[in-house]
Symmetry: C2
Subunit: 248 residues, 2 copies
Amino acid sequence: MSNCLTLPGLTCSDCRMSPLCLPLSLHADEIGQLDAIVSRGRPIHKDDYVYHSGNPFHSIFAVRSGAIKTYAVDSDGHEQVTGFHLPGEIFGIDGIGQESHRNTAVALETSSVCEIPFNRLSELSIALPTLQKRLFALMGMEVNENQELITLLSKKSAEERVATLLLNLSARNHARKLSSIAFRLPMSRSDIGNYLGLTLETVSRVFSRFQKTKLLSVDKKEIEILDMEGLRSLISGHDTPPCSEKAG
Amino acid sequence: MSNCLTLPGLTCSDCRMSPLCLPLSLHADEIGQLDAIVSRGRPIHKDDYVYHSGNPFHSIFAVRSGAIKTYAVDSDGHEQVTGFHLPGEIFGIDGIGQESHRNTAVALETSSVCEIPFNRLSELSIALPTLQKRLFALMGMEVNENQELITLLSKKSAEERVATLLLNLSARNHARKLSSIAFRLPMSRSDIGNYLGLTLETVSRVFSRFQKTKLLSVDKKEIEILDMEGLRSLISGHDTPPCSEKAG
DNA sequence: AACAATGTTTGATCTAGGTCAATAAACGGA
DNA sequence: TCCGTTTATTGACCTAGATCAAACATTGTT
């Protein structure tokens, strides 16, 4: 445990996830400077916390391996899952607007994360405009993703919500050179339901229905997408299209 | 129309909204530098667009007067209202993550907006770390607000949603030294419903119910909050609290 | 192997809010 | 002022998904 820093590959430059992660678009020498402020943590176990809601905000984090769930707790004590974070993805941005985190981050499985002190990162971004641009873009993408989730929660049916999540995970797996058709869900049905604004029973029923209609094969947490196009057509199309052609 | 730049008060330093707006936390000389890149637009009318979804992203905007609605259009053509923006507030952040806007911004009433070219703003933020910090904080707050909306859409009843919006508008009016108990809604029932993930009929029914229970007085778009505490208790409290004291 | 603890599936029933429909009030032009 | 258009209210009915409940796997523990 104390010698894990002697393992190979413990710089951003060596990290397989680098092209997806914060270093995206930085030059080799710039990545070196980033490397200097990133600290790579030891593995954390399932159910270990990275930070809690209310903790002072110091750092953002990158997932190196495993999967991290973030959730917010509102005034009533209701938990709302706000994201699932896969290798190469950044989380912890929920603390930037205030002095403290609004979310809690917990490992869904054995994981490892890199910690990036935000003060040092923003200082560095003054010297490296590319990095500043990357940071703004990263936060902007977070805003856009949240807006997509808002639309989903506000307007979509249970089937559309589940299909959207599966296609989203599929695309993210594809981006990290994993199979886009067969993968393991790192989270429970209850986490999925919470994230999608559904009960776990509804999520389970949708999975069953998708199996019956040969869209998916589901074995516990192992998912295989049998009909990608069918899934895609589910999330866009069965509605009045904004008036285009009509034969006649 | 060509002489509107001769009107008084057309710098950030003079603007009454400055303490709420982007210049917050900047020193006088820093505000001067910001001023140099901000262009103040002529008034825009109700239903005029500030930008459309898909437009290339160049600038963010500040509301000087009036009210702006932003909405996203998803693949199905569904519109999702993503925000109502009041004087002193920034909008347009939806374009930062990509090269183009994801939202459309439209005036709900006669308004005026300041345009701030984002490239020049981020350059300036390299010279002014306070400004950089302010920008990060602004985007972080946007993320947090979106997460609150996500929780609302995912977990709250129609009454809680409407009460939350009213209290939110009340607080924002208070921040700009307007009445927190009596104000005019700049948006339609349908906009409110769209934003809150409800139909306009449900919004109307909730307003009626709130009137009947003496929480509000509603006259078309004029709202008076008659029982602030009653409204507050609606949005937090009627649920199993996460087990604390219990006499006995 | 027996066990609790946890997570998943499936069924039966209920309800909040959606949908459809009919007025009614307010607004904006000529 | 009158008329067409948009916006808001209210009612009757319906449905997607929640809730309640039971059975069943799965995992880890002693």
